[in-house]
Subunit: 115 residues, 2 copies
């Protein structure tokens, strides 16, 4: 499970002054930004929604192309970016690739947004 990185630092919130406020380190910010960057595209937002709403939380690449109106190589490209960011997992079964949403990456991103 990913470590939650709350937007508000609980440990210093009560006594922080502007000069004291501490940003996340670059090392902590990098993986969070990578997840958000992967989600920063309308097609990828739609693909994530589509996979999460599919039966069993899993979708074949063959069922993803029509709903987003794009050719399979383009959808595969978007899915590769989501997999690389840890937001989805991919399993090859015979001719087709099947994708699932990865809850840990979603939780990490949601943890950052928690006010």
């Amino acid at each position: 499970m990913a470590t939650a990185l709350p937007l508000v630092r609980v440990d210093g919130a009560a006594c922080a002054t502007p000069a004291d406020a501490i940003a996340l380190s670059p090392a902590d910010a990098e993986p969070i930004a990578r997840i958000f960057k992967a989600l920063g595209d309308p097609t990828r937002v739609r693909l994530m929604s589509l996979i999460a709403s599919s039966e069993g939380g899993e979708a074949c690449i063959c069922d993803l192309t029509a709903p987003v109106g794009l050719a399979q190589p383009t959808v595969s490209h978007h899915m590769r970016l989501l997999v690389e960011a840890g937001l989805a997992s991919r399993e090859q079964r015979g001719r087709w690739a099947y994708y699932r949403v990865e809850p840990a990456a979603l939780a990490r991103a949601a943890g950052f947004l928690r006010a």
Copy 2:
């Protein structure tokens, strides 16, 4: 308050099949993707964290440059992108701009990530 757009469509989750699964419309996905895109950069992730952890939830541009180690024009550029995405608000007071985090945009993004 922004409308939550859950990753899993509650209305169709019980009976969805891969062929029936419906992605968010482009119109619904666009504003969500815009928020994630603005957060898809380590410096902007750090600036959001820094502002949220500042006293009173507000930070002067003059206090944001040193923690992220960037010149003021560069920080202003990043802050403009966050303001344009609705993630932060800006108020000019005399010489300095002051920024706040906008909870509605955070809630909208978090709503999408809710599994």
